[in-house]
Symmetry: C2
Subunit: 328 residues, 2 copies
């Protein structure tokens, strides 16, 4: 019975998800219909577009696609807090960019930096410890830090409709991977709890780890060096490296996801691409072409000709965050 | 019923594996007892050594641990065949090492090279195509190439006792990953069929991929550049990058697995390390300290003090290959 119990639990969960209306927080528009049509056709055994279970790979961006990325990426907020915490022991940071800007609270100067600047900042503020020690630091920060606008833990700012999308994909035997420009070790400590996505299903940016013996024990030590940036063309490269198969569906929200969507949809057979367009200043934020965070320009222009579904957050989503759901 | 059918299939399979004696092709010695004792204690709910399902990560080397690596690594045999095939269009290879040695059949010169030499050779002979095209080439080669000693497909030379070990771990809800010095894209085309391990559960050496647009389609192109060598200290680094958690069990056969075993066993809580010692010249090969392929020296010396189980292939395994099994 011991071996059967977990399977029955999975069975109950799958049944519960399927019994409920899929994508319940999505309005009945073009986006919802397109998601359901795609999943229905690739799971229809014997149908012309059937995709075997082991090839049902979905790649989903994190910042701006699964949770809010304003006023800046959550990992940047974490890095800033961490740099302030470490600054007492690093007096030279007061004179060195980009640390100086962080310590002076000059967000504009920090945001004006390149993606590599941001990752360098993150790397420098995240290094010199084992991955396990870093995991503890991330968990402690998430347990106490509050989002400046909503005064809630950052992990409350996940998108309810996207949680339902993840559940719908899983109920249809998709393997769902996060593919994010963010640091992979920043997401792993909480992705299973918040999204149901385990650590080994996250593709992200990397800093270098170095194997060494400390007090007779073998450890990895995080170095302040960027190894890989999982953004733009890095996304397909990161997917191939970690997942080893071209996804059949990709979900993003910015030009950083452009190459991932193009590569996904360049494969043969049925393919699906979706972009979350942030159009809701009241419930979340409204931004696209001129945003320093999550800029969406080229991908928005080309979405129609490439057949990518564009979600209009304001029109397509009944609620944005789980805490906005009506009480049951 | 559609959603339930695959779950029932999993249930039947799990039941079948559990109904049969686990590790049936292992003699009843210290190694088999140690494997069963470890798996039993980490799966005993409420016991002092219980490990939750999501932390049951096992890392298993491939060459020499899951299949034979003599007279040379299978991927090297593939690369040599591929270089011979491509040589007509690369006349300069006749004058350039290490290609010259390959074309002249001078195995000694090739084997005298470093690990990086070998991977460079592999990279140069494997590049200039998409991962999907490379997959096709690997599959075609495996369908026709024969191992020089056994005159059988290379994938027949997997170790029956290790297939049973993989099944036993899976039946106990372990997530099993291959962690190999070999190229990840060389293993992915057949690992699911042969080992039941899907492409995303393989950590291995990498060559660079470059995103580009070809005839209006987005593709990755394999470049003749080594990106990462997943050997020695590279193994823990590769595991952290892809899996994101320290395994609780590691299985290897050479000094290339030393750092992976040390790192695995340096974690807190119950841990397990195992080394396959090739002691059977009659049924397979006998080699260790002086072998140019799969050298086992330091790891063999330190195994007793570190508590690593050493499998004596000749004594511990009833059969080596599946084709040696008695007819049912």
């Amino acid at each position: 019975m011991r071996a059967i119990a977990p399977l029955l639990a999975v069975l109950s969960l799958a049944t519960a998800v399927r019994a409920a209306e899929p994508l319940a927080s999505w309005n009945d528009g073009r986006a919802k219909k397109a998601v359901i049509a795609f999943v229905t056709k690739v799971t229809k055994e014997g149908g012309p577009d059937f995709v075997p279970v082991n090839e049902r790979i979905a790649a989903v961006d994190n910042d701006g696609t699964l949770w809010s990325e304003q006023p800046t990426y959550t990992q940047v907020a974490f890095a800033f807090d961490r740099i302030r915490h470490l600054a007492a022991k690093r007096p030279e940071w007061k004179q060195t960019q980009p640390f100086k800007a962080v310590l002076e609270g000059d967000m504009k100067a920090v945001l004006a930096g390149t993606a590599r600047d941001r990752v360098e900042l993150i790397a420098a503020s995240h290094a010199g410890m084992t991955p396990e020690e870093f995991e503890t630091i991330v968990k402690e920060w998430l347990a106490t830090a509050k989002h400046p606008r909503f005064s809630r833990p950052y992990t409350d700012l996940v998108f309810q409709p996207m949680l339902e999308l993840l559940a719908y994909l899983r109920a249809n035997d998709f393997k769902v991977f996060i593919v994010s420009g963010g640091g992979v070790e920043f997401m792993r400590p909480w992705s299973e709890r918040v999204y149901g996505i385990p650590p080994e299903r996250i593709v992200g940016s990397l800093i270098k780890n170095k194997y060494e013996i400390r007090d007779g024990r073998a450890e990895l030590i995080r170095l302040p060096e960027v190894e890989f940036i999982d953004d733009k063309a890095g996304k397909p490269e990161g997917i191939q490296r970690v997942i080893g198969r071209r996804p059949i569906a990709a979900f993003g929200n910015s030009d950083g996801d452009y190459e991932m969507l193009r590569w996904t949809l360049s494969g043969s057979g049925p393919r699906f691409g979706l972009i979350v367009h942030h159009t809701d200043a009241e419930r979340e934020w409204a931004y696209d072409r001129h945003s320093p965070v999550g800029r969406l320009d080229k991908a928005l222009d080309e979405a129609p000709e490439r057949g990518w579904v564009v979600v209009d957050m304001k029109k397509d989503w009944k609620v944005v965050y789980p805490f906005q759901l009506p009480a049951p």
